[in-house]
């Protein structure tokens, strides 16, 4: 294993942090109201086939480079279109995530600070982190994930006295249509977004298997998300849907005597950490997609321009906070083609083309147009 390879545990931590990212903000109600926790469980189960699809795409051809495999599976013209679509989706999602976190910091803590100033600082750190390659992000993720677990556990234990089991009753009283919308919403954010984590697996050390790693990542993220969601609902009840940041509000109720209060700062720290990692992964995915689509050797020179594009798009994406949360209601419909239909289509076409492609005399796949096989990309230094 090379020094710059990412181990399975580091990858698990990175993707878990990614999944936790914006859902710590969004862990409020869905149309299913008190049955949201059931929707999350169903969404996790439904995400397993999605993970299998991404694993198959990564294993289609040696090298485990997601976008290169898409280009080879679909052919250059169609593959370029698909990669560009994924690139646009990643840019949109990255800008949205950056906007959500900047809004949170602005609303919850620094109300006099312009959102652009908060976003600027985030971008500066993002560029520095990603310029030092993905393995830095992975190592920090592995170090910081236990901190998230501990803080969520502390907030749950301390919120115990504010919890009422009756807030979860009656169970499964929601209409089937509301349950379905809740499941779609939970699948769209965050489990379907595992798509943008797939390119990172090119840095995973060759000895590790992809699907077990992905499964563990999702389970790690799911544990925190379901805990946070249940904590919010048990504490706040139906008023969860009223608040913009329900995790923050539910923890703000914790009070032990007169001295142990305002521990919602722990949620703020969690949010900053997880959200920052989510932005980083999205930026990496966008840069990787662009570099592969345009046939460039490395993604690193594109980090700064793409990060600035994230910053600009985050300002153009929504007009105000209310519009931002209104957009979240449309996310499940908007993201379905990107998260489900396109990867399935890529896999089907890739498997069929691979099955019926005739190997050339010198053992090369007919998809490789260059006379020599392309040199290995410097994923890491």
């Amino acid at each position: 294993m090379q020094r710059t390879d990412v181990s399975a545990k580091q990858m698990e931590a990175t993707v878990a942090m990614f999944l936790i990212g914006s859902s710590l903000v969004k862990s409020g109600s869905s149309p299913a109201k008190q049955d949201t926790w059931i929707c999350i469980i169903i969404a996790v189960i439904l995400s397993i086939p999605l993970m299998w699809v991404h694993t198959r795409i990564l294993n289609l051809y040696p090298g485990r480079n997601y976008y290169q495999n898409i280009l080879r599976a679909m052919g250059r013209p169609a593959g370029t279109v698909v990669c560009l679509i994924f690139t646009l989706y990643t840019f949109h999602l990255g800008a949205l995530v950056m906007r959500i976190f900047s809004e949170f910091i602005h609303v919850a803590g620094m109300t006099s600070t312009p959102i652009v100033a908060i976003s600027t600082v985030i971008v500066a750190v993002l560029v520095y982190m990603l310029s030092n390659r993905l393995y830095v992000l992975a190592r920090i993720s592995k170090f910081m994930l236990p901190f998230l677990y501990i803080t969520v556990a502390i907030t749950i234990i301390l919120s115990y006295q504010n919890m009422e089991l009756s807030n979860l009753m009656p169970i499964l009283n929601s209409k089937p249509s509301d349950l379905f919308q809740g499941v779609l919403s939970a699948l769209a954010v965050p489990y379907g977004e595992i798509l943008v984590c797939a390119p990172m697996f090119g840095a995973l050390s060759r000895e590790e298997k992809i699907f077990p790693t992905m499964l563990k990542e999702v389970i790690l993220g799911f544990v925190i998300l379901i805990s946070a969601n249940l904590r919010n609902f048990l504490t706040l009840g139906y008023s969860v849907s009223v608040y913009q940041f329900p995790s923050f509000e539910s923890v703000s109720l914790v009070q032990l005597g007169d001295f142990f209060t305002r521990i919602e700062v722990l949620i703020g720290i969690n949010l900053l950490l997880a959200g920052f990692f989510k932005c980083c992964v999205l930026l990496f995915s966008a840069c990787d997609a662009l570099s592969e689509t345009l046939g460039l050797q490395d993604y690193e020179p594109l980090v700064s321009p793409c990060a600035l594009l994230f910053l600009t798009l985050s300002g153009l994406l929504v007009g105000n906070t209310l519009e931002m949360f209104r957009w979240m209601e449309y996310m499940s419909v908007y993201t379905l083609p990107f998260q489900v239909f396109l990867p399935v289509l890529v896999l089907i076409v890739g498997v069929v083309r691979k099955k019926f492609s005739k190997p050339q005399k010198h053992g090369k796949s007919p998809d490789v147009k260059n006379e020599e096989s392309p040199p290995p990309r410097p994923q890491e230094n």
């Binding site: 600035l308 929504v318 449309y330």
Partner: protein, 70 residues
């Protein structure tokens, strides 16, 4: 004005460092992407800072998706 005072230092630093590094490493193929993106980012941010009313991307998408979402 305050917007540009916050944005421009970051933009200038990142643009200078990136373009310089690409020039020193003689990887001029990256200029095809870097320069247009930097230019577009600068123009868009100047428009935002000058107060030009640009419809938000989400509002446009929501108008289109409202046919599919109740």
């Amino acid at each position: 004005m305050a917007y540009l005072m916050v944005f421009l230092p970051l933009f200038l630093v990142l643009a200078f460092l990136t373009l310089r590094r690409t020039y020193l490493q003689k990887e001029f193929c990256y200029y095809v992407l870097q320069i247009p993106i930097f230019a577009a980012v600068l123009i868009l941010n100047i428009l935002i800072a000058s107060g030009v009313q640009i419809p938000s991307i989400s509002s446009v998408l929501m108008k289109f998706l409202s046919n599919f979402v109740k």
